[in-house]
Symmetry: C2
Subunit: 131 residues, 2 copies
């Protein structure tokens, strides 16, 4: 079953979006696939220490995207087949790339400069100034 040990919540974005993205990534990477059961809303919310409604919000959005399938009473299952997972993987990468590009563009960087900066800082831990 889906392991949620690797999902660590931060405060940078809404919890329901973090859950949403995590599950998308797990599907994209093949950790879970078509037909697999998801933990129930109540169980997952207990695991993560959040409110059941927060999990429900994420699941509801996944349902709307056709990524999972839910029937009242039964556990939700993955509805995305292998082809859908591949599309999801491409989509996720493109979305992330575009977000990053938008950020870099906004600061007036050229493509060349942006690539060089990413090269430079990718492996470098952020400096602590502490002041």
């Amino acid at each position: 079953m889906l392991q949620f040990d690797t999902l660590t919540l931060d405060s940078h974005s809404p919890i329901y979006l973090q859950i949403l993205r995590f599950i998308k990534q797990e599907i994209a990477s093949g950790t879970i696939c078509y037909g697999d059961e998801l933990p129930s809303r109540r169980v997952l919310s207990a695991l993560l220490g959040v409110n059941p409604n927060t999990v429900q919000k994420a699941f509801h959005l996944l349902e709307e995207e056709g990524i999972i399938e839910s029937r009242a009473g039964a556990k939700s299952v993955i509805a995305a087949d292998e082809a859908a997972a591949n599309r999801l993987r491409a989509e996720l990468r493109e979305v992330e790339a575009r977000s990053a590009i938008q950020l870099l563009r906004e600061s007036g960087l050229t493509k060349k400069e942006a690539l060089a900066l990413i090269e430079q800082f990718w492996d470098q831990p952020p400096e602590r100034s502490d002041g």
Copy 2:
């Protein structure tokens, strides 16, 4: 004086942050420098079509960072000298690069993949799906 014609507001991030970053960038690029006057909160807010307090929020943060100097009654002026502007330029680039890197890391991309995606999508306009 500082031209705000080149500042176009979008809805992707808070207005006050867009204003804040714009002014930082103008200082970093040398468009405005030490001693230059900024337009008043009210004038700028009218120019941008936003609330004066939204501008105030940006200016207040700039003041806290020591980038501008404000006295009640008089217009705010740039407090950052040339050295500070240079530091600002480097800082802006690093901050943007790190934000972008964080985004890309979160989706499990390697540096190589990230660079390739940015190469690929930099010049491509986003697709419209429209449904």
